[in-house]
């Protein structure tokens, strides 16, 4: 076991050092197929069932670029305000590792498809920080290994490993920031806000599932400290295995405190890869390599260069959605929200979803109430982020529409949403299969009303005598008889009609 690292009090870190951040985010694209072959790009599945000679690295197999992935890469570059390369190539990054079938990763090296951009990142208090983007490049994902034997299921102590290549070859975009300086005490917050803004942007673009829990968005955080008043960057560490937005903030904060303690104690920081441990919020060193890796990059001879025409680039620019933060600004004005109300919406992750629901035709008030109340409860119950609930804004908008048109009551609508969340299909399908339509056929309702009145002649007499409020008992009986699928207001009307009150 590694010894517990000494940590410096955070306030002292800030007093004595300036932090420098660098964030590398890997995004798995949600294309139908992998980067270089026609295998399905899906999460999970029976092991080694989404594989072919190419992604298994069989002798003789060759890669062919997925045009949709290139298109997504260019769109991402444009959304990050990058230059798009006139001409660029893939390279081979050579290193041996069992989860990489060819023992080289096909990746862009010194010729990224997109470079020199920026992302304006809104912080919690409304301040906006510009994060400079160094590059966004295309590459492929590796397979997954399962370590068998040993106590932890991790590498250490394992007796052997099992490999599944379903993920091998899934298209990845790696987005690298330039060094982020001057962040001061807000460095951890900025790191989280950057990844959040990036995630929201990519989601709005519909290019990735951006699920940190499933690894479709992964963040490596580079952290270094330099003593106040100096301008030479300190030695950095790269923290991997940061699997949630909260962890991004924690990992950066932890590394700052650890670096601070090491440096203040006269020690030196070793340039290394560290792993974030969700359980206690610490980082642990990976195995140190005896020699620096020499990846022996060279241009990939099996793929030809990508030379996107300026017409194509401009066409793709036209497909970019309104950036989420601009949309938020717009909805704040349109809905007359206070800054605090908007922030609540944003913080619960509901703002973009509400906006998308409104875009899909719902009233802002209805959309807000669905996401902030019922769906937030559902997300909490399932311990997932709101946006990760398996329901789309369009589906929510449809449910709202069904309520508006009187085809669903609010109670039924919640059942429909449960059905959608349970994977039973579109709202209309759930209404159909669960038989949840409001009973609006007066004939059927009248039968129920007549039966209820006949069953309680004394109540019927009271109503007839002018005690209209007594109708409530009959309404209740009808609702019970129709299993709540009747519109209570209409039932009441029919009762009054029937007794001639």
């Amino acid at each position: 076991m590694t010894a517990v690292a000494e940590l410096m009090d955070y306030a002292e870190v800030i007093e004595r050092f300036d932090p420098v951040l660098g964030l590398e985010v890997h995004v798995e694209l949600s294309t139908n197929t992998k980067m270089f072959c026609g295998c399905a790009n899906v999460f999970g599945g029976e092991p080694n069932t989404h594989v072919c000679p190419t992604c298994l690295g069989l002798p003789g197999a060759l890669p062919v670029m997925n045009g949709k992935a290139v298109e997504s890469a260019i769109r991402i570059g444009l959304a990050l305000n990058c230059e798009i390369a006139q001409w660029c190539r893939f390279a081979r990054k050579n290193y041996f590792y069992p989860d990489m079938p060819k023992n080289f990763q096909t990746s862009q090296y010194d010729e990224p498809i997109a470079f020199d951009g920026y992302l304006d990142v809104p912080l919690d208090d409304g301040e906006v920080v510009r994060v400079e983007i160094e590059r966004a490049h295309m590459e492929e994902d590796t397979g997954k290994s399962l370590h068998v034997g040993g106590a932890t299921g991790r590498i250490h102590g394992a007796e052997h490993s099992l490999l599944d290549y379903n993920r091998a070859g899934v298209p990845l975009i790696e987005i690298v920031t330039k060094p982020i300086t001057g962040a001061g005490e807000r460095a951890p917050e900025i790191a989280r806000a950057y990844v959040t803004a990036l995630r929201d942007l990519l989601r709005a673009m519909d290019v990735s599932d951006v699920r940190m829990d499933q690894g479709s968005l992964r963040c490596d955080a580079n952290v270094s400290l330099m003593p106040k008043g100096t301008s030479e960057f300190g030695t950095r560490t790269e923290t991997k295995n940061v699997n949630s937005l909260r962890s991004v903030e924690r990992a950066v904060r932890y590394e700052m405190a650890r670096h601070g303690a090491v440096l203040a104690g006269g020690g030196t920081i070793r340039q290394e890869t560290r792993h974030f441990q969700e359980s206690d919020g610490t980082t642990a060193p990976g195995r140190t390599k005896e020699t620096a890796e020499d990846y022996r990059y060279f241009p990939e001879p099996d793929l030809v260069p990508v030379a996107p025409s300026r017409e194509w680039v401009e066409e793709l620019r036209g497909t970019l959605p309104e950036p989420p933060w601009e949309r938020r600004k717009r909805i704040q004005e349109e809905w007359g929200l206070t800054g605090e109300e908007l922030r609540d919406l944003v913080n619960t992750g509901a703002a973009d979803l509400v906006a998308a629901t409104v875009d899909a035709g719902a009233e802002p008030g209805d959309a807000r109430s669905w996401w902030v109340q019922f769906l937030t409860q559902q997300a909490n119950a399932r311990e997932v982020e709101l946006a990760d609930l398996p329901i789309t804004p369009a589906q929510v908008a449809r449910v709202i529409e069904l309520v508006k048109s009187g085809e669903l009551t609010n109670k039924l609508a919640r059942e429909v949403v449960q059905g959608v969340l349970a994977g039973e299909g579109e709202p209309d399908e759930v209404v159909e299969t669960r038989g949840l339509k409001v009973v609006s056929d007066d004939t059927a309702l009248l039968t129920a009303v007549d039966e209820a009145l006949a069953a309680q002649p004394d109540v019927a007499e009271k109503i007839r005598g002018g005690k209209v409020q007594a109708a409530g008992a009959i309404v209740g009986a009808v609702m019970k008889a129709t299993k709540g699928q009747a519109d209570a207001k209409r039932v009441r009307e029919l009762i009054l009609e029937r007794v001639g009150a």
Binding site: G57, L58, G60, L62, N94, P98, D294, P301, D302
Partner: protein, 505 residues
């Protein structure tokens, strides 16, 4: 009865399609010949007797039912270099590491051969992963040259060339990274063509050097090679470097050439490919061939390609660099030989021990050479510079082809050398590819066609013809014209002078 193994592919196809003979009979005759000769020659690593006969019977059944033949070569047997994957048929690349590998898929070349009704007899011997010029680097023992069993059949495709010269197959497929189709063709008195890079799909061709590898036809006549070229050529969406253009009209060009008129054709003799290191008999055969071209009406001029002198060193940087990466996948994890998996050794050690056990000396040498050339600090001086030489070679070709239609040279500086003669001297071995490498670096097509026997040792010599990118048809026009004229002057095809099995030492 005619010896079916002595006929050309075109003759066999004509007889099969005319129902004079069945494909099964033709296939059986070649299988019998393999049984008789291959114990001496060792051209094959695997003979697929049942599969070949089944494919032949299928062709026969189609013809019997009145269907048109699937291609002009339907029913004709072929020997396939063991570097192209064949579903369910062993594919070893001449390496121990793939000793028991059964590919789960067909290469595009294999698929096109099958679709064309061509009968695949088996897989031919080769230098391990196509690295070599003599087929001595095969893990399964050398192939012998049918002209002299003490000598090499060329390489890396020595099994394919020897199978043709030993009349075990009328057609073969080779792959050419630095001359592995043409040089074996030259030293066995057979025809071999490296098409334009991108002209034949590389999908399923186990890569040695991806930017240089190209599969192509091997045959005993230029016309047969052309017929085979049209079967295997053409765009393949599974190979990103495949050219999306029609196959050049090579069969028509061969027919036109066979009429024996080359007037108006400008032929350039590459000045740099002569002199020291060239066997005098080879140069004399080459001179006679040039004279023959002139007699056919060609205008012959001398052309200088000054950077060709740098082709060999550039090649021995680019090919090893790419191979060091291409062969990384042979790591004993997913397929291939695994040793030392005893629970003691970790994955990294098992990889290293398995690669050490699975690869031969030449493969290891080139992997290390390539690893060095790509290392940071050396990249610019080695790999980077080699790629610049590639540009210079292409410029030399471009300049030359502004003046002439084709270039000619000897295919290889010497005739077949003795088995064992160069194994301990890699640099001497590499010289065998001196003249063939420029076309691999620039990607343009080239052919070797027999130009007779060297007068001092009585062994075959090849004439190399090179054409501009996508002008593969010019090779066939000039090659066929020359072949017809040479055969007429010599009183028959060179390859028919191959000694009988017993007569060869």
């Amino acid at each position: 009865m005619t010896d079916l193994t002595r006929l050309t592919a075109a003759e066999l196809a004509a007889k099969i399609h005319a129902r004079e003979v069945t494909s099964a009979e033709v296939t059986r005759a070649h299988l019998d010949r393999i049984a008789e000769a291959d114990g001496r020659v060792h051209a094959f690593l695997h003979v697929d007797t049942e599969g070949a006969l089944a494919a032949a019977r299928e062709v026969d059944a189609g013809l019997e039912a009145g269907h048109a033949p699937a291609s002009p070569l339907a029913g004709v047997p072929l020997a396939l270099k063991d570097v192209l994957t064949t579903e369910g048929i062993p594919t070893t690349c001449g390496s121990k590491t793939l000793e028991n590998w059964l590919p789960p898929y067909d290469s595009t070349v294999t698929r096109r051969l099958r679709e064309a009704g061509i009968v695949i007899l088996g897989k031919t011997n080769m230098d391990e992963f196509a690295m070599g010029s003599s087929t001595e680097n095969s893990a399964y023992g050398p192939t012998r040259n049918p002209w002299d069993h003490e000598r090499i059949p060329g390489g890396s495709g020595g099994g394919s060339s020897a199978s043709l010269a030993a009349f075990e197959a009328p057609l073969a497929i080779g792959t050419d990274t630095g001359g592995s189709i043409r040089q074996p063709g030259a030293v066995t008195g057979t025809v071999g063509v490296k098409p334009t890079y991108g002209g034949v799909s590389r999908y399923g061709l186990v890569a040695f050097s991806s930017s240089l590898d190209q599969a192509g036809p091997c045959a005993r006549t230029v016309t047969d090679a052309a017929l085979l070229h049209e079967v295997i050529g053409g765009h393949d969406p599974l190979d990103s470097t495949s050219i999306d253009a029609p196959v050049p009209p090579v069969v028509a060009a061969a027919r036109e050439g066979a009429r024996g008129d080359l007037s108006g054709v400008r032929v350039g003799v590459v000045q740099e490919f002569a002199g020291e290191g060239y066997q005098p008999g080879v140069l004399r055969s080459f001179q006679a061939a040039v004279e023959q071209l002139r007699e056919l009406g060609a205008e012959v001029v001398e052309v200088s390609c000054p950077n060709f002198a740098y082709a060999l060193p550039a090649y021995y940087l680019i090919a090893p660099s790419e191979c060091s990466s291409n062969l990384a996948r042979f790591d004993a994890m997913r397929y291939g030989l695994r040793v030392a998996d005893d629970g003691e050794h970790g994955a990294e050690e098992v990889m290293s021990l398995s690669r050490e056990a699975g690869f031969g000396a030449e493969v290891k040498r080139r992997i290390m050479l390539g690893t060095y050339a790509l290392s940071s600090g050396y990249y610019d001086a080695y790999y980077g510079s080699a790629q610049k030489v590639r540009t210079l070679i292409t410029r030399d070709f471009t300049a030359a082809f502004e003046r002439v239609d084709v270039l000619v040279s000897p295919t290889t500086p010497t005739t077949a050398f003795k088995i064992g003669e160069r194994v301990d001297d890699p640099l001497a071995m590499y010289l065998a590819d001196l003249c063939t490498i420029p076309a691999n670096l620039a990607g343009n097509p080239a052919m070797s066609v027999p130009s007779g026997l060297s007068d001092e040792d009585g062994l075959p010599v090849g004439l190399q013809i090179m054409a501009p990118t996508l002008a593969d048809d010019r090779l066939y026009r000039v090659g066929a014209a020359y072949e017809v004229a040479r055969d007429a002057a010599a009183g028959g095809s060179l390859v028919h002078q191959v000694p009988e099995l017993e007569a060869a030492k």
